[in-house]
Symmetry: C2
Subunit: 471 residues, 2 copies
């Protein structure tokens, strides 16, 4: 077995000389073998080793014995051993998660702590080829894509350290053989034999059945499949990563924008990965993107109308715009209508949009001077005498129309927004300046013919809209 | 069911208006439904339809009844029906293949013939979602990578036509329901219920077991997995195709050369695909590249010494050179030693290498003239008076040494070849011109100090080596 473990270590560059390795040791045959094996390789790789055992409190006295066993075996080998007792059942009740998930979370956190405390750079875990085969089958049964079918990775980056699994290519049988040959005792976790856990059922029923009735080599074939799929997945991930950084832009915290044309050009395999990556980027769980939900979202992005919204999960949505689509938190505010009379001359605050409007009366000559310096659509000038007061600032209402400057006749505001490719979700946020005769300015977009400055104008109203934070 | 079939057709663009479609009809529920369904869509897509039934002679009288049934149902729908009887058992015996493989080969050839005869552009087959789930499981059990786990493709190009499978997203249950609703009779192929075939065993035992004990949705999940994997595979194939055309060069019939540096830069997922594509390009079967063989070959290419040879299968090898490696037919000739005295002046034929050697004696002044016009390493000049005759032309022998022109002392020929990065398999094909004193010319590479033209030379021997075909 030593040879195939070394081959595995070399193949994946698992160990470098001088590594400090924390070994997760439950006390079972797998982890005891791993501990013994790395101990016997400690000089070859100049390793610093330490054992870490979590007493997860599921099995009372038996669990305490496990801990004592690991401690004594480690000390026989001269390896320091960290033991922590955590009440997983309590943790589980607090978080309302399954026993297996709770145990995994607690265990991982424990290992992470020990790695930090002890200044390690590697964490070695004792998963073997049977675990790999089980995982692949389990994922297939539960429904999986390529990433799921990749099973357990031999090497995976943790936070500030690397997780390695040197036994991933050896069978449980070989491990038990190794224990016999090296006269190693180990503890048996009887909960591994309860078929109430789906994983145990796969291990104890499905795999033996497949082995007997279909293919005696099924374990090693599944492990090979996992290995090949990992290589394929890694390549796809790498490509998707490149494309993600080109196409996806963070527009505000918890919101990303993706260029539609660029996205549509991608093959669907990359599209799926981009959406999953975007969800991860936003702190979500990519598992929320089930096959069907993913298909719906891709269809929405491909064929949906502008403004269409698709739900990734409660509170996280995809929203299709004209040239982009966004992924982000759903805007939970109900649609807000606002309307304020403008203080003229003076300033008016628009709390809904965090904007401030300044109104000044200026002379014609001043107007001619200032007009040439206006930049962007956030300042506008009007014929003060021609405006029917009061002026108000508000957002759009159904049926709004106006007469864009230089155009004959009026146009529906909605049509104007559509022509300007302003996404639906933006439209309620665009302030309008309205006189008693109608809209005189679609702020940031378009002035109206109504109230425009002409040759006859004597006093000019200058309006300037800017973010509250600027003032 | 009609809706989901139409959705499938649209999703994969299976039908275009005016298509001529041959439908493979065994007479079972699947193919009878497919025939009926496409018949009911004939106006929507303006289809020309024709049924094709193969009587494969496995089941005697029953098979004849199947044929009559398909014929009569087709004629009820007003669809022409082609029937052919082929003795598959005999075909099978001739080719020594399994009954299932023989049936598949014969069936495919039959469909191909009908497609051509009838001028069709599509072939519709009745595989359904259960078939898909079975295929994925079967492949997994037999050992597969990504491509195998993709299962049955909904659309696949044939030779001059396209194979479509409009029922691939519907379950057998839905199909049987469709038969009931549309009052369709169908034939039952009892051989589908023999569990001696692994596929039937998967269908009749494994899938029901998984459905009952693990996941009642397993069929549709496996079909979803297949669909996702297909998208991933298609992308990888597309990428590999591009890289293949950049890196792989056909150097002679049945032999391709791949640049080593370029190959090594690729991720292993692409490397595997490149090798598989190269094998297909050479007319081989990519299934010969088992997981282990593939790993060995990749290791040989990555780490093997120059000249190392790896077997893909009997007669097909990978051979590592300095800057490239080749895939091609194994050179079955045993190593041949050759040796011929040179006719001087005159010509000598070298049949082993299809070369001809011309020897001429020329004056010093003629030499000075000709020397300036020599191109490449295929002509050389010697001091005729200083050569110890006879001269012979031969390939290398163990222990050969020579004194390269301009160098002090002799050098092993082997070392010289290594320094020049001449691949092992080329070395026996390099002719040497040898006098009684030793090697005077490594043809095409390097002249020796021995016999070189000096200021004192009066008569010059000019040797020229060229392909036999040039003369």
């Amino acid at each position: 077995m030593l040879t195939s473990v070394i081959a595995m270590i070399e193949k994946y560059d698992m160990l470098q000389k001088g590594d400090r390795v924390v070994i997760g040791v439950s006390g079972g045959a797998d982890s005891i073998s791993l501990l013994h094996l790395l101990w016997s390789l400690r000089e070859k790789y100049r390793l610093q080793l330490c054992a870490a055992h979590l007493n997860h409190g599921f099995r009372g006295e038996e669990a305490d014995e496990d801990a004592r066993f690991v401690e004594s075996f480690s000390s026989q080998l001269g390896i320091p051993c960290y033991i922590r007792k955590v009440d997983v059942p309590q943790y589980r009740q607090e978080r309302k998660v399954s026993a297996q998930l709770a145990a995994r979370e607690v265990r991982y956190r424990f290992f992470q702590d020990i790695v930090r405390e002890w200044g390690a750079n590697k964490l070695a875990l004792a998963h073997n080829r049977d675990d790999q085969a089980e995982t692949v089958l389990l994922r297939l049964i539960r429904g999986a894509g390529l990433d799921g079918l990749c099973g357990i990775p031999p090497v995976r980056p943790g936070e500030g350290f690397v997780i390695i699994r040197p036994l991933l290519a050896v069978s449980r049988e070989m491990i038990e053989q190794y224990c016999v040959e090296n006269d190693l005792n180990f503890r048996t976790d009887w909960s591994n034999f309860k078929t109430v856990y789906l994983r145990n059922k796969v291990r104890l029923e499905l795999l033996p059945y497949l082995k007997k009735e279909f293919n005696s080599q099924i374990d090693s074939l599944l492990a090979q499949t996992a290995e090949m799929l990992q290589d394929e997945r890694n390549y796809l991930e790498q490509e998707a990563e490149k494309i993600f950084s080109e196409l996806v832009e963070e527009v505000e915290p918890k919101k990303v924008k993706i260029n539609l044309a660029g996205f549509k050009k991608q093959p669907v395999a990359i599209q799926r990965r981009l959406l999953r990556k975007a969800v991860i980027f936003l702190g979500g769980n990519p598992q929320d993107l089930s096959f069907n939900r993913m298909s719906e979202l891709l269809h929405l992005i491909e064929k949906g109308r502008v403004g269409a919204i698709g739900t990734i999960k409660q509170g996280l949505v995809v929203c299709k715009g004209y040239e982009d689509f966004t992924l982000g938190e759903e805007e939970t505010k109900p649609k807000e209508f606002f309307s304020y009379p403008l203080n003229l001359p003076g300033t008016t605050i628009l709390p809904e949009l965090s904007l401030i409007v300044e109104g000044k009366l200026i002379s014609k000559s001043q107007y001619l001077l200032e007009k040439s310096m206006v930049k962007g659509g956030w300042e506008a000038f009007f014929d003060w005498e021609k405006l029917s007061l009061p002026l108000i600032i508000r957002n759009r209402r159904a049926g709004d129309r106006f007469n864009p400057l230089g155009m004959k006749g009026t146009k529906k505001l909605k049509k104007f927004f559509i022509d300007r490719k302003i996404p639906v979700q933006e439209r309620d946020k665009i302030p309008l300046i309205v006189s008693s005769d109608g809209i005189i300015w679609v702020v940031g977009c378009q002035q109206s013919d109504l109230g425009k400055v002409t040759l006859e104008t004597e006093t000019v109203l200058k309006l300037k809209v800017k973010p509250l934070s600027d003032s």
